[in-house]
Symmetry: C2
Subunit: 305 residues, 2 copies
Amino acid sequence: MRTYLDCIPCFFKQALEAARLAGAGPRTQKKIVNELAKVLPKFSLASSPPEMGRIVYGLVRKITHQEDPYKKIKAKSNKLALRLYNKLKDKVRHSNNRLLTALELAIAGNIIDYGVKNSLDVDKELKRILNEENKAIKNESKELFNYSEFKHALRNAETILYLGDNAGETVFDRILIEEIKRLHKNKRIIYAVKERPVINDALIEDAKKCSIDKVAEVISSGLDTPGTVLPFCSKKFLKIYKEADILISKGQGNFEALSDEKKAIFFLFMAKCPVVARDIGCNVGDIILLYSKHRRNWMKLKLGR
Amino acid sequence: MRTYLDCIPCFFKQALEAARLAGAGPRTQKKIVNELAKVLPKFSLASSPPEMGRIVYGLVRKITHQEDPYKKIKAKSNKLALRLYNKLKDKVRHSNNRLLTALELAIAGNIIDYGVKNSLDVDKELKRILNEENKAIKNESKELFNYSEFKHALRNAETILYLGDNAGETVFDRILIEEIKRLHKNKRIIYAVKERPVINDALIEDAKKCSIDKVAEVISSGLDTPGTVLPFCSKKFLKIYKEADILISKGQGNFEALSDEKKAIFFLFMAKCPVVARDIGCNVGDIILLYSKHRRNWMKLKLGR
């Protein structure tokens, strides 16, 4: 997805938020905003928003000298999510449609607020999210929840590349991967995380903490962008990207970065902002399981080609 | 009020909105955003937000070659508001507290959405706003609705400078001024509007269209800023500003520009954004009648001086 003009105010918002989280005072915050303003005129809107995200979070890192402002938040998210593991597994085991439930949980893992006070609160929130999701999925037109295509593609794929998103969420991804492996014994599943800290995105250490290395090969994409921007990925990652039969792509950032790629990708995320919602043709808050092929057809239709 | 860091994303939002209203295509919009980005590092946060507003709307005017993008909207607002005049007068006449009702209407005039389809819709909206306002005012702590001070100051003032805000709203201001004149025969009331178009702010032509010149002297402040920024006002206006015993200042923009002045000013507006709400210590959507003297005391307390 290209960058829309309406993304620009949001880049400044993100810069301020990240600067504050890195402990920057008002002067340093203004300095970061000024530097961002200097970069903006040179930034092409043909780039995807995560490419600007790389600049924003890079500036914050450079100016605040904080390599990983979200380190504590990530550790807390991992801990809380791990505590939920058994309960989540029970939910899947008792479900009439285990794969769908695991998918729902994988989305819940993306939108859960790990800032809440304790695991009881998280439990409550999870309940709320899952209820909302069920409603959302039921209301969802098949256009934006390509579940049967997903099942079909899973069956035929040999190599699956799973793009992780946030720390903590990785526990929920593990449950989906375990369910995929239960249904299809001999799949090769590779779970990719970021190389360097960016927002609360999972790193190798988070993936290991969440024991996803027990069920998948864990690799780094070589990235420090909030979304998988291919030109910045490592060679090793790109090789696997090419070899993979399908991708499961978690989170809005990965959708923004990869939505125009020709690979068979299943984008699994909640539309968190009006710009992305408009791009897809959904409402903010909608739960999306979008097959890249469908998106391409839809875009052709939209552009009248 | 100084400019907060959180105002910065909003400046870009405003630039995009105004550019679109001026009919600018995506390329021109990007050009405006780029120019704004170039100005930003030189802009001091000690300035008030309307000073940046002047830059934003000036850029849009210069780059789009549209002197008055909001001209049609303003004409429509005047027309709709004028159609309501008799009904509004009736409301005041039948009220137990005519001055308070006229004040409430003056606020309603500020927050009414003139984009609605017809005068029946406006009627419905007015009802909604007035109900909300009554609730708001009743719930309001006296800290932020200094009505008794307002009544007292009105009684003692000889010269009242009334700072208008939007076109259309001027009809509602006229009703408040008529009520003030009914209660206090020999006051000199001057109604100030903008010199050049900025957003949908009233100009001399709008003031005359709404017949406010029948009840007050109409002058221009010499401004093209969305708020009365004193250093940019005309000498004629500044003379009257100095002479005036009290000011009635309409709208958030005028509050932002004048909140730190030592004059006796009654700020009458709805807190429309979280930054202003935080500055005052209220919620977004709260109805404010704030006496400048109280604000000064409160700020001293807040800053521990």
